[in-house]
């Protein structure tokens, strides 16, 4: 309605009131001065402090994480190195063992070969000796036999030929 609009304008909504302006200014200034000291200063500085605290906590967490990662990396490297070391040691040990085994077997073979050779030599010598002994024995026996034959029967020349033949036969059959 038109009348209410006129009332709104007439009613003094926009009327200046120096008293109210004065009191508002005074009240607000007092509030500002008191609260600046008692409230906003402590609260703002506390908020800043907390923000700094949170920031430093975050920073510390980051550095701790970095450190942990570095340690983990180092551990992994150490582990890898240890693995490699162990591998190397095992390989070396294996090599050494192989070598030793080969050497030992070779040596044993050599030994056995030597032993066989020496045994063979000995056998040969023994055989030769036995043959010699046998030959002498046979010769002696033959001579004795011949003596007997000669003494009893035939002349000496015929006897000799027979003995020689015998000896030859023996010699050829020896080998």
């Amino acid at each position: 309605m038109l009348t209410s609009g006129i009332i709104l304008l007439e009613g003094g909504l926009l009327n200046p009131n120096p008293g109210l302006i004065f009191w508002t200014a005074l009240t607000f200034l007092i509030v500002l001065i008191i609260l600046r000291k008692t409230a906003w200063g402590p609260i703002v500085s506390m908020l800043e402090e907390r923000a700094k605290g949170i920031q430093s906590a975050i920073d510390r967490a980051h550095t701790a994480k970095d450190e942990a990662e570095a340690i983990l990396k180092k551990n992994r490297e150490t582990l890898a190195m240890a693995d490699a070391e162990a591998d190397k040691i095992i390989r070396e040990a294996k090599e050494v063992a192989d070598k030793v085994r080969n050497e030992l077997t070779e040596k044993a073979q050599e030994e056995s070969r030597k032993m066989i050779a020496s045994a063979k030599d000995e056998i040969e010598q023994e055989k030769r000796r036995a043959l010699d002994v046998l030959r002498n024995e046979v010769a002696d026996m033959a001579v004795k036999g011949a003596e007997k034959i000669i003494r009893t029967t035939l002349d000496a020349e015929k006897q000799k030929a027979v003995v020689n033949d015998m000896i030859k036969e023996m010699a050829s059959s020896r080998n």
């Binding site: 909504l13 009131n17 508002t24 509030v31 609260i43």
Partner: protein, 352 residues
Amino acid sequence: MRKKAISRILALVVPVLLSLNSQAFATSVQGESPVTGSAVEAIHAAPSTVAAPAAEAAAGHAEVAAAHGEAAHGEEKPGDLIMHHILDSHTFVFEPFGEVHLPHLEIAGFDISITKHVVMLWIAAILLIIIASAAGAAAKKMSAKDAPKGVANLLESLVDFIANDVARPNIGHGYERFMPYLLSVFFFILLCNLLGLIPYSATATGNINVTLTLSIFTFIVTQFSAFKAQGVKGYLQHLTAGTHWALWIIMVPIEVLGQFTKPFALTIRLFANMTAGHIIILSLFFISFILKSYIVAVAVSIPFAIFIYLLELFVAFLQAYVFTMLSALFIGLATAHSDGHDGHELEASGHH
């Protein structure tokens, strides 16, 4: 579906409209003006009770009615009653219980009476000082590791909001200097707005003198910080807006005027917002008195008034925020004017 809804609305509205002249719903006898006045008057106490004594109503409103020259008619207009609620006065009316007359003071020809709005300002100031000082004391005791709690926590989140979402983005570097002012303005306006929503109280921020004073503070802070940041030379250069000297005759008045439009806008915005909400709530109540209908009161006035009241709660926060944000913005524009038209000298002098 829609037809059904419309018919339902009609079923609601038609009896309301019919009851306009119906004696069944009306409480007063036509032509007997003081009783009608009492019916209208009863809104002060409670909108649904329409049985306040006529004598008390007449006493409470003799002053207003006389002031507006409406007494001759013998019947008070709703407009007068609304204005009585919105405007400042020398009496605090607690309707069914009585009223408190506030003292008149006059110093050197100036009327500095303690009025209703002055009392509301003081209540807001005392409350603010108590609450904020308690929070400040709690903040002082607290180490960085403690979690905040209670009132300190609430205040702290608002302080943090003003610091990081209002002051820092708008002012930028060196915003800490203006924090006490911005915080005080924000909480003072917020408390005044919220106190205005309590029954029997008044909205101090709905008075143009209060908002004018507050925006004058912003104006002073803005101008001083501009002088401090730019010096006299920079300040005057800013007034020319960096244009050719031939344009100065146009630019200087525009820029000077621009300095004053900012606090003016602040003044009107806060005042109009706070006043408008209250006028709407009261007008919604008066609809039921003008129509003399209970149905209108129950179906229209009360639900809508509750809705507007809740909206007003939001507006109380919003307008406190807007005032603070614009103050910060104006301070920011005045101090760190390096991205504007006259930013080259400032950049050269290593301002940023």
